[in-house]
Symmetry: C2
Subunit: 336 residues, 2 copies
DNA sequence: AGATAAAATCTAAACGTTTACATTTAGGGG
DNA sequence: CCCCTAAATGTAAACGTTTAGATTTTATCT
């Protein structure tokens, strides 16, 4: 196998200088049609593909944005990613995705790697919000957009959903149906989404004068297993809750499995609302009432903000978009 | 904002030559402890991060593998990806993921981009199997591993599951329960998985002397919508099938929705088996019988093969791993 | 045809690393 | 204390682009 052809080889074959070749591959114009054809032919003949590395070195830009998510297995993120990818492609950008498995150590590794590679910007759902480990990005002048989870003490554009409101509405819905003992399965409370959802829960109780009871608050980690365990805990309480709110999709699945295993009858003995719509929602019997988020839009918006930052380096003030989730009322909640 | 520090700046601050700095950042040893400390301190002070671009240019390697999937929204791929990512991290490799949305045009774009970036290898589930558009990779000497779908006329390592066998077992299971009119919802037949699943279906019918009936074969595209439509078609047949086999997860979901909308009662009026286990499977009533694939293993194995190729450039002969899927018998099939 | 302007093309210098090879420094033995 | 060897460090070239500025070619107008 020959060594890979470079711009030099193309230039020689087409009998021009490398500068002219460069002009052609970058569509800069100012090249005679005849010359261009000759060069194009040479490129084709040699199978020349330009080296992004060399180009990046000169241009200091990569037309690449890095995306960091905490858990690629959570279907929420692939959908957000699809939104990002689509918008990025439209603008001629390329995306690279990495997952941290909710580990800050891995997140740091990825960030460093992204910087090494010279990404033009980063879209991140961070594993740890109060984290200095993202300062490096800012020091390097790399724009950041936080999506789904905001970042403390870092002045970055943010696209989130109104977690508090979404949860408030869900809990309110339950209260209005007569529920007073409502369990909530939380995510990691050092993440805004999890925290805000708990706030929404508390506020709804307060507004309707229902005493807050610590035993109904389960501390989960956004993984299926913790939803399962948490639900069993709730079940084993002397005064069982009559309704359960689960703070994310994966935990909802775990929770529902626990319900089945306990023979705790959904929609009859216990009402249920989950944050995030999931495939199973409409297949369950009864169908699941959920708080749904505009996931695709979240991604599209995130890229759009990032792109603006990349394009106009001038300091636009920080922007925060808060999208509204929607309570999709189906059948898993019953009067109590 | 200062311009980013380079190795030169570090060298000056630490009062050494750039060669020594290079030795330190690459852990090559042969540097006096005292000097190393001085350099490390300088690196830290300046916030120096080496440029991958410049490095790649010299070394002609990136420690990066590119992963191409046809549909990031299909939960199958994120799980495979998780397997790849984990193994890659262990070996010090970094992965970049892109999704083609089943479009060959986009796939070509991505491939080109990967080459430009100098990925050391590619793991791909191609959108179009009989495709010359992957030859470029081979021409560039970039190792490829095909996962889930093989590639025609290209001599690459392959990791797939035994689609034919998996489907055969499913259909056999239905036949032994007395079903004779069995519908199948196929994926795009120019992909091996879809094709092989159809083959498995036909072979099972043949082995049990059940006549093949074209009207029970629905041509879908692996997307939810086609599963929905296909199922309605089957429902509208004069001689409705008594059982349905769906060739992938997304189409299963569509199919099940159609069942509900038609009031065609699952497990009673119609039996059902889907390829790939899905969240909803165990929540349905009755629970879904499925053909399950070892998705995580698929990814791990794929990276392993690729890594071997990258490490020992010598021409090991082509390898093909075919993993066995497993028929998980639950409740969605009933005697007929 | 000659002068001039405009268009096309070329030359050469970066960009930030790695590394073969050259040079300096340190350490030990006599 | 000097010499020799090994260890540590330095020098300089190369990797493949882009691009400013220099030069050549072409086209236009008298």
């Amino acid at each position: 196998m020959e060594s890979k052809p470079n711009i030099q080889a193309v230039a020689k074959l087409a009998n021009v200088s490398i500068a002219t070749v460069s002009r052609v591959i970058n569509n800069q114009g100012g090249v005679r049609k005849k010359t261009e054809d000759r060069i194009l032919k040479a490129i084709d003949e040699l199978g020349y593909i330009r080296s992004a590395a060399a180009r990046t070195m000169k241009k200091k830009e990569t037309k690449t944005v890095g995306v960091i998510v905490p858990d690629i297995k959570n279907p929420f993120f692939p959908i957000v990613m699809a939104g990002i990818e689509q918008k990025a492609r439209e603008k001629g950008y390329f995306t690279i995705l990495s997952s941290t498995s909710e580990s800050q150590a891995i997140e740091e590794e990825i960030v460093k790697n992204f910087i090494e590679r010279g990404v033009d910007g980063v879209i991140i759902t961070t594993a740890n919000e109060d984290s200095d480990h993202l300062k490096v990005l800012q020091n390097q002048g790399i724009p950041i957009v936080a999506v789904d989870r905001s970042i403390q003490n870092l002045n970055v554009d943010t696209v989130i959903v109104d977690n508090e409101k979404g949860t408030y509405q869900a809990i309110q819905h339950l209260i209005l149906q007569g529920h007073k003992r409502i369990g909530i399965i939380c995510g990691p409370l050092n993440t805004t989404p999890a925290f805000k959802r708990l706030i929404g829960y508390k506020k709804a109780l307060e507004d309707y004068n229902i005493p807050f009871n610590e035993q109904y608050v389960i501390h989960g980690d956004f993984q299926e297993q913790s939803g399962y365990k948490g639900t069993k805990e709730l079940y084993s309480l002397d005064e069982q809750p009559t309704a359960i709110f689960s703070s994310n999709n994966l935990m909802s699945i775990g929770s529902l499995k626990a319900l089945q295993d306990c023979n705790w009858i959904l929609g009859k003995e216990v009402s249920f609302i989950g944050f995030d719509d999931i495939d199973i929602a409409t297949f369950m019997n009864p169908k699941l009432t959920v708080v749904a988020r505009p996931m695709n839009t979240l991604g599209e918006l995130a890229f759009q903000l990032l792109h603006e930052r990349i394009s106009f380096k001038e300091s636009v003030p920080r922007r925060e978009y808060m999208l509204s989730p929607e309570l999709k009322i189906r059948e898993s909640c019953r009067l109590n």
